[in-house]
C-alpha cells in the first residue's frame, strides 16, 4: 500500500462523510435500543393496563354517594299549612307542592317563582285524608269530610320557546273534578291503588273501626279525556282496633294497618268478598313509636321509621304452605334522632331519611348500604322528596326552608355483602344467592349475586378436572416414561392437537350431539367407569399370560398402539350395554327413572356434559406440562432405581413422580385456570341457568358464559356493566392466581433439577 493510498484511506475514514455515517449508525443503534426497550417493557404495561382498566371500571360501584347543596329558598306558600307531597320534573326545574288545605303550588326550583297556584275543585267539603297512588307518576287522592275521594295527577309539560327549555307544571283530574262518593262519613284513612284497567279504594271512616273496600273498572269515555270508574265489587269489615296508618300493596292484595306503637294487622284482600286477617305482628321494638311509614318503590316493601332513628323494612313473604306473612327483612340506623320524613327513589330501591336534628341520610335497601349523610339544618326535616331520576332531592325544614341537593349516586345497588352473601329479595321466601340482571320494569329489584356464577364456574371446572386429570396425567406418565421415542413423536403432537381445536366446535358437539346422546344412553356412561378399567386389567393380565412369542412382539414402549383397539372396543361395549342396563335396572329409561323414582332433576345440558366436553379440552394443557415435567427428570435417577432392582412402575412411583410432582401440580393448576376461563363450551353446553346445586345432572352458568351472554346488551357505565366487569376481574384474579402459582412452582422445580 503506497503512502498516498494510506493517506487517502485515512482521510476517508476520518473525513466528515464517514463521521456523519458513523453518527447516523450510532444514532440508529441508540434509537433501536430505546425503541425496543420501550416496546419490551410495554408488555408489562399491557397486562397492567388490562388489570387497571378492569379495576377502573369496577371501582365506582364501591364509592359512596356525594350530596351537594344546590339552592336554598323559602317554602312556596309558607309553612302555615302542612306539606302533603312534592312533585319534581325530570330536569329538576319545576316543582309542585301540595298542602293539607288543598293548595297546589307550582314553583321554579331555582328561585321559588310561583308558576301555578290552584285550589281543589271541591270547595264545599273539608279535606280529611290524603294518599299517594303512584309516587313516580305523581298521582294522588284526597279524602273529604263528606265521604268523597278526588283523584289528581301532576304532570310537567316541556316546551322550547326560543330554543330554551321551559317546564310547566300541570294539574289534572283524570277521573273528574267531582270526586267519587265512597261513604257518607268523613274519610279518616285512605288508600288507593290502580292497575291499567282497575282501581281499588280502601277507606276508614272517622271514629269507626269499619273499613270499606271498593274496586272499580276503568272505562274511557268517548266524549272527553276523562276516565269513568264503574264500581266492580265492594265489601266492608271491622278491624280489631283503630289504626293510624293504612298501607295497600301494589298488587291490591295486601292491606296492612298499623298503629302508632307499631302494632300491625295484615289482611289479605285476595278474596274480595271475604277479607282475611292473616297476621298480627309488632313491626318495631317495644318502646319505640312509629314516626313515618312509607312504601318503597314497587309498593311491596314497607319502611317503618321510628323515634329512635331506626328504619325497619318489612314485606310479605310466602311460606312453604303458600301462606303469606309479614317478615322483618332488615333495618337501617345511623344515629338515634327520630325519623321525621322519608323519601323514596322512583326507579330503584333507595330511600332517604330526614331526622329531627336536621340529618339527611341516604340508604339503599337491597344492598343494605348507608351511602351518605349530611347535616341539613338544626331543626327537624319535615319533608324529603327525591327527583325522578334519583339525581337530586329537595328537603323541607320545619321552619320553612326548602333546600335542593344534587346527589351523585350511580351505583347503590351493590355492596360487597350483596355480591357474595345471601340477600332477601322482595317476593322471595328466604334470603338467596340470585343472579337476575334483566329488568322488566322500573319496580324491578336487580339481583347481582356473583356467588351462583362463581359457584357454577368452579363446578364446571371441577367436573371437567374429574374427567381430564386422570386421563391427562396417566397419559403423560406413559408418554414420558414408558413410550419409545418413535411412538412418542406422533402421540404427543396428536394429543396436543386438541389444544388447537376451536372450543366453539367442542361446544357445538357437546350441546347438540353429546347432550342428547348421553340423555338416551345414560347407563352407558356409568358402565364406562366399571367396564373400561376392568377390561384393561383383564386384558393386561391376559397379555402377561400369553406365550413369550406374542408378548414380546409389542414392547412396553409401544403398548399404546395395542391399547387403541382395546380402548375403542371397551368404549363400544359400554355403549352397547346401555339398553340392556336400562331394562334391567331402570325400567327401560334411566333418565325417566332419575326424575321420577330417584327424584333427581335432570337437565339435558348438565355438568356431566360439561365434564366430558371441557375435560377433553383441558387434557392437552395438563398433559403437555406434566409430560415435560416427567420427561425432564434426570436419567441417572431412573437408572439408579432400575439398578437396585425396582420395576418400571416402582421406579416411577418411588423416584420419578416425587421428583416431578411440583410439575404435575403446576399442570393441574394450569388446567384448572384454563377450565375457569373457558367460555364457548360452557356457553353452548351448560344450559346457562344460574343454579347453586352440586348435582351432576343439572346445568350451571359460569362467570365467563355470563359475560358472553350479557355483555353485549348492557348499557355502558350502568351498574350491570360494572358488575359484569367485576365478574371479569374475578376471572382475571382466578387465573392470575393459578398461573402465578403454577409458574412459581415450575421455576422452583427447574432450579431443583439444576441442582440434581
Amino acid at each position: 500500500m503506497s503512502e498516498q493510498t494510506k493517506q487517502g484511506l485515512h482521510d476517508t475514514l476520518n473525513g466528515p462523510k464517514t463521521k456523519k455515517r458513523l453518527a447516523i449508525r450510532r444514532f440508529k443503534d441508540h434509537a433501536a435500543k430505546y425503541g425496543i426497550s420501550v416496546g419490551g417493557v410495554s408488555i408489562i404495561f399491557a397486562v397492567f393496563l388490562i388489570m387497571f382498566f378492569l379495576m377502573y371500571v369496577v371501582l365506582p360501584i364501591f364509592t359512596p354517594a356525594t350530596i351537594e347543596k344546590r339552592v336554598e329558598m323559602q317554602v312556596p306558600g309558607g309553612m302555615d299549612t302542612k306539606t302533603l307531597h312534592y312533585a319534581l320534573d325530570d330536569h329538576r326545574e319545576a316543582g309542585v307542592r301540595i298542602t293539607d288545605t288543598g293548595r297546589i303550588i307550582g314553583f321554579s326550583t331555582e328561585n321559588a317563582d310561583v308558576m301555578l297556584d290552584k285550589t281543589l275543585p271541591i270547595q264545599n267539603s273539608r279535606i280529611t285524608s290524603f294518599t299517594l297512588i303512584n309516587e313516580a307518576e305523581n298521582e294522588f287522592a284526597f279524602g273529604f269530610a263528606d265521604g268523597r275521594v278526588l283523584i289528581g295527577k301532576i304532570s310537567f309539560r316541556i316546551s322550547y320557546p326560543n330554543n330554551q327549555r321551559l317546564v310547566l307544571p300541570v294539574i289534572e283530574w283524570p277521573y273528574g273534578e267531582e270526586g267519587k262518593q265512597i261513604i257518607n262519613e268523613p274519610i279518616e284513612q285512605l288508600a288507593v291503588r290502580e292497575r291499567e284497567t282497575a282501581m281499588m279504594i280502601v277507606v276508614q271512616a272517622a271514629g269507626s273501626n269499619v273499613l270499606h273496600v271498593q274496586t272499580f273498572r276503568k272505562r274511557s269515555s268517548f266524549l272527553s279525556d276523562e276516565v269513568q270508574l264503574d264500581l266492580d265489587e265492594r265489601t266492608q269489615f271491622t278491624t280489631e282496633s283503630h289504626v293510624d296508618h293504612m298501607l295497600l300493596g301494589g298488587l291490591m292484595r295486601d292491606l296492612v294497618l298499623v298503629s302508632h306503637d307499631g302494632q300491625a294487622y295484615y289482611y289479605s284482600l285476595a278474596n274480595m268478598s271475604q277479607p282475611e286477617l292473616l297476621q298480627k305482628v309488632r313491626v318495631i321494638l317495644p318502646g319505640e313509636t312509629l314516626t313515618s311509614v312509607r312504601f318503597l318503590n314497587g309498593n311491596t316493601s314497607m319502611m317503618f321509621g321510628t323515634d329512635t332513628g331506626r328504619v325497619v323494612q318489612w314485606f310479605p313473604v310466602r311460606d312453604k304452605n303458600n301462606d303469606f306473612a309479614l317478615q322483618e327483612i332488615r333495618s337501617f340506623q345511623r344515629d338515634s334522632h327520630p325519623v321525621i320524613s322519608m323519601g323514596m327513589e322512583a326507579t330503584r330501591k333507595g330511600f332517604a331519611v330526614g331526622d329531627a336534628q336536621g340529618g339527611f341520610h341516604l340508604y339503599y335497601s337491597t344492598s343494605h348500604r348507608h351511602l351518605r349523610s349530611v347535616d341539613v339544618a338544626n331543626e327537624p326535616l319535615s319533608f324529603v322528596r327525591f327527583a325522578p331520576r334519583s339525581n337530586g332531592a329537595i328537603v323541607e325544614t320545619a321552619s320553612g326552608r326548602l333546600i335542593s341537593y344534587d346527589i351523585d349516586n350511580p351505583h347503590p345497588e351493590v355492596s360487597f355483602g350483596s355480591l357474595w352473601n345471601k340477600v332477601w329479595y322482595e317476593g322471595y321466601s328466604e334470603p338467596t344467592h340470585t343472579w337476575q340482571s334483566s329488568s322488566g320494569n322500573d319496580d324491578f329489584e336487580f339481583k347481582f349475586s356473583l356467588t351462583p356464577l362463581t359457584f357454577g364456574t368452579i363446578k364446571a371446572a371441577l367436573y371437567s378436572m374429574l374427567f381430564a386429570v386422570p386421563i391427562a396425567i396417566f397419559a403423560a406418565i406413559y408418554t414420558a416414561f414408558f413410550m419409545d421415542k418413535r411412538t412418542r413423536q406422533w402421540v404427543k403432537p396428536s394429543v396436543e392437537l386438541i389444544e388447537a381445536l376451536p372450543t366453539v366446535i367442542l361446544g357445538f358437539l357437546a350441546g347438540l350431539w353429546l347432550a342428547p346422546y348421553v340423555e338416551s344412553n345414560l347407563p352407558a356412561f356409568f358402565a364406562i367407569i366399571i367396564v373400561v378399567p376392568l377390561g384393561i386389567l383383564l386384558f393386561g393380565y391376559g397379555w402377561s399370560r400369553m406365550p413369550d412369542k406374542i408378548r414380546l412382539m409389542i414392547p412396553v414402549g409401544r403398548r399404546v398402539v395395542l391399547m387403541i383397539p382395546v380402548v375403542a372396543f371397551l368404549g363400544w361395549l359400554s355403549m352397547a350395554m346401555s339398553d340392556p342396563l336400562q331394562y334391567m335396572f331402570f325400567q327401560g329409561d334411566m333418565r325417566t327413572w332419575l326424575t321420577e323414582t330417584a327424584g333427581i332433576t335432570y337437565d339435558q345440558r348438565n355438568a356431566m356434559i360439561i365434564g366430558f366436553a371441557m375435560g377433553f379440552a383441558l387434557i392437552p394443557t395438563i398433559f403437555s406440562v406434566a409430560e415435560d415435567a416427567i420427561y425432564s427428570v434426570p436419567n441417572y435417577l431412573v437408572n439408579g432405581s432400575y439398578a437396585l432392582g425396582a420395576s418400571g412402575w416402582q421406579t416411577l412411583k418411588g423416584v420419578v413422580l416425587p421428583t416431578a410432582s411440583p410439575g404435575i401440580f403446576s399442570a393441574i393448576m394450569l388446567g384448572f385456570g384454563r377450565g375457569v376461563g373457558e367460555t364457548m363450551i360452557v356457553l353452548m353446553a351448560s344450559g346457562n341457568t344460574p343454579l347453586m346445586d352440586i348435582n351432576l345432572f343439572e346445568g350451571m352458568r359460569t362467570l365467563s358464559a355470563n359475560l358472553a351472554v350479557e355483555m353485549g346488551e348492557t348499557e355502558v357505565d350502568s351498574t350491570h356493566y360494572r358488575v359484569l366487569f367485576l365478574a371479569g376481574l374475578v376471572l382475571f384474579m382466578f387465573t392470575f392466581f393459578f398461573n402465578t402459582v403454577a409458574e412459581v412452582v415450575r421455576q422452583r422445580m427447574r432450579r431443583k433439577y439444576g441442582q440434581l
Binding site: G39, A46, V57, I471, V504, I564, V567, L670
Partner: protein, 549 residues
C-alpha cells in the same frame, strides 16, 4: 396375579390405556367431524315410503333422505312405570314451503310392508329460498316452448339455470358494486356537507352544489334501479317447472329459484363425485341464504381472513420487538422476571376477559375519543365507537401476543452466540447485528409464532362476539370502495357462524349439516396451520443443530 399387581404392572396398562384413550378421542372426534361435514355435500339417495300411521288410515307417500335413526320412548300402557322403545327414522322431506317443516320422524312400524324403496327418477332441487325440494320433474315451459320429454326438460332447465346465473351475476355486480358505490358516495357527500356545516363554512352556493351532486346521484340511482328491475323480470321469465311432490301433487316452480338439481338415485360414482365437489365449491364461494342455515360461508371466510391479517399486522411487530428486548437487550434480573410472569399471565387470561377489555377500552374509550376527534360529523352514529374490525383485530392481537413472543424468543435463543459475536467483531452495531444477522435467521421461528397466532385467532369466538363479529353482514369488510378495507365495519367469522347457526337459528335440525360442514372447514384450516407450524419448527431445529456443530 398378585405379583403382577404388586409390581404395579396394571398401572402401566392403565397409563398406556389413558394415552390410547386420548388418541382415540382426538382421532374419533376429527373423523366424526370429517364424516358429518363431508356427508353434507354428498348426494344422498332419496327414498320413497308408503306410510300408514294406523291400519285404517290412508296410505301416505313420503319421499326424502334418511338422516338419522333413534328410539322413540313412550310409556308402556300395560306396565306402568316402564318405557317402551320404538325405532324411528328421521326423513328429510324438504319442500318446506309446502309442508312447513323439513324433517319428520317416522315410526318404522308405520312403513307399509317395511320396504325402503329408492324413489325412481326423483329429482332433488336446491332452491334459493325454502330449502330443498324433492319431487318428480314433469314439464318445463316458458314463453316460447313447453316440454314434457324428460331429457329435453332437463336440458332446458340446465340451460335456464346457466342463463339465470349470468343474470344473477349481473344483478350482483349492479347491487353490490355499482349501487353500493353510489351509496358510499352519497354518504361521503353527506359527511362533507356536515363537516363544512360544523365549521360554519356552508354557504348557500356550496349547499346548492351539494344538492346538485346529490340529485345527479339519485338520478343515476333511478336509472340503475330500472335496469335492475329489468334483470329481475328477465330472471322470472326464464320459465317454470312442474314438479310432482308427495301424493301426486303438482307444484309449479320458477326456474329462477333453482340453484342446482340432480337425480341422486340415477347417479353413478363419477356423477356423485362431481356433484360433491361442486357442492363444496358453492359452499366456499356462495353467500349464506335463509338466515345462514343454507348456502355458503363466503362472507365468513372473508371476514375471518381479513381479521386475521389485520391482527397479524398488529401482533407481529409487538411480539417480535418484545422478544428481541427480552433476549438481546434486557439484563437478567427482577424486571425480566416480571416480564416473563406478565407474558405467562397474559397467556393465561381467559379469552372472554380480553373481550370485555376490548369492548370497554378499545371500543368505548378509544373508539369514543376517535369519534369525538375525527368523526364528529357522523355523530350520533358511531364510526369507531362501536365494535368493528379494527378493535377486533387489536383485541385478538393482544390475545395472541404471548404466542408470538414465546415462539420468537425460542427462535432467538437457538441462534448461536458465535454469529452475533462475529458480527460485532466486524464492527457492526448491535442494532445492525440484530437486523442483518439475527432477525433473518429467526424468520422461520417468527413465522411459526404467527401461524400459531393465526390458528388461535381463527378459532377463538368468545371475545369476538363482543368486539365486532355479527351473524350477517350486507357488505364485506373488504370491497371496491376506497379505502378498500373498512376498519370500522362489523364482519362475519367462521367460529361465530358455528355458534350462531347451531344455537341461535330457528331451525337447528335443518341447519346442523351445515354447521358440521363449517366446523370441518375450520378444523381443516386450523389443523393444517398447526401442522405447518410444527413442520417449520422441526426443520428449524434441524437447521440449528447443523449450525451448532
Amino acid at each position: 396375579m398378585k405379583t403382577w399387581l404388586n409390581k404395579g404392572e396394571h398401572w402401566v396398562w392403565y397409563s398406556a390405556a389413558a394415552a390410547a384413550a386420548s388418541v382415540v378421542l382426538v382421532f374419533g372426534l376429527l373423523l366424526m367431524i370429517a364424516f358429518r361435514g363431508l356427508s353434507h355435500f354428498w348426494p344422498h339417495a332419496v327414498y320413497e315410503f308408503q306410510i300408514q300411521p294406523t291400519p285404517s288410515a290412508q296410505i301416505q307417500l313420503v319421499q326424502g333422505e334418511i338422516h338419522n335413526t333413534r328410539m322413540r320412548e313412550t310409556r308402556d300402557p300395560e306396565n306402568p312405570g316402564f318405557v317402551l322403545r320404538e325405532p324411528q327414522i328421521l326423513i328429510k322431506t324438504g319442500n318446506r314451503d309446502l309442508y312447513s317443516f323439513d324433517f319428520r320422524w317416522v315410526d318404522q312400524a308405520h312403513i307399509v310392508g317395511q320396504t325402503w324403496n329408492k324413489a325412481q327418477g326423483i329429482s332433488v332441487i336446491e332452491r334459493y329460498a325454502s330449502g330443498n325440494m324433492y319431487g318428480y320433474i314433469q314439464s318445463f315451459k316458458n314463453n316460447q316452448l313447453e316440454l314434457t320429454e324428460r331429457d329435453q326438460v332437463f336440458k332446458a332447465i340446465n340451460a335456464a339455470i346457466r342463463e339465470g346465473d349470468k343474470i344473477r351475476s349481473k344483478i350482483r355486480h349492479l347491487e353490490k358494486s355499482v349501487i353500493g358505490g353510489i351509496n358510499h358516495d352519497l354518504q361521503t357527500l353527506r359527511y362533507d356537507q356536515r363537516k363544512l356545516e360544523m365549521r360554519d363554512r356552508l354557504t348557500p352556493a356550496i349547499e346548492a352544489e351539494f344538492e346538485a351532486k346529490r340529485q345527479a346521484m339519485h338520478d343515476q340511482f333511478g336509472v340503475l334501479q330500472l335496469q335492475l328491475d329489468g334483470y329481475y323480470k328477465e330472471l322470472r321469465a326464464l320459465g317454470t317447472v312442474t314438479v310432482r311432490v308427495g301424493d301426486d301433487r303438482d307444484v309449479e316452480v320458477n326456474v329462477s329459484q333453482f340453484v342446482r338439481f340432480w337425480q341422486p338415485n340415477e347417479m353413478h360414482l363419477g356423477n356423485k363425485l362431481s356433484s360433491f365437489f361442486s357442492s363444496v365449491g358453492s359452499f366456499l364461494t356462495d353467500d349464506p341464504r335463509e338466515s345462514n342455515t343454507e348456502g355458503g360461508v363466503f362472507p365468513a371466510i372473508v371476514g375471518t381472513l381479513t381479521m386475521v391479517i389485520m391482527m397479524t399486522l398488529f401482533v407481529m411487530p409487538m411480539g417480535v420487538i418484545a422478544a428481541i428486548y427480552m433476549r438481546e437487550y434486557a439484563k437478567e434480573g427482577k424486571l425480566l422476571r416480571l416480564i416473563r410472569i406478565s407474558i405467562n399471565n397474559l397467556a393465561g387470561v381467559p379469552s372472554i376477559v380480553f373481550g370485555i377489555f376490548g369492548l370497554g377500552f378499545f371500543v368505548y374509550v378509544l373508539g369514543y375519543s376517535v369519534d369525538q376527534m375525527f368523526y364528529s360529523h357522523a355523530l350520533p352514529n358511531p364510526t369507531f365507537g362501536t365494535p368493528g374490525l379494527l378493535w377486533a383485530s387489536l383485541t385478538m392481537a393482544l390475545l395472541t401476543l404471548p404466542v408470538v413472543i414465546v415462539a420468537t424468543d425460542e427462535g432467538l435463543s437457538r441462534i448461536p452466540r458465535a454469529l452475533r459475536e462475529g458480527g460485532l467483531a466486524l464492527g457492526a452495531t448491535k442494532a445492525e447485528v440484530i437486523m442483518r444477522i439475527v432477525l433473518p435467521m429467526t424468520t422461520p421461528a417468527i413465522m411459526t409464532g404467527l401461524i400459531l397466532a393465526v390458528a388461535r385467532a381463527a378459532g377463538e369466538v368468545a371475545p369476538l362476539m363482543l368486539v365486532g363479529v355479527v351473524k350477517l353482514v350486507t357488505e364485506l369488510p373488504v370491497n371496491a370502495n376506497a379505502p378498500f378495507i373498512h376498519l370500522d365495519q362489523k364482519f362475519m367469522h367462521l367460529g361465530f357462524h358455528i355458534y350462531d347457526v347451531g344455537f341461535q337459528s330457528p331451525n337447528v335440525e335443518a341447519a346442523q349439516p351445515l354447521v358440521y360442514a363449517t366446523s370441518l372447514l375450520l378444523v381443516v384450516l386450523i389443523v393444517s396451520l398447526n401442522l405447518a407450524a410444527i413442520v417449520i419448527r422441526n426443520r428449524l431445529r434441524e437447521k440449528y443443530k447443523s449450525l451448532d456443530n
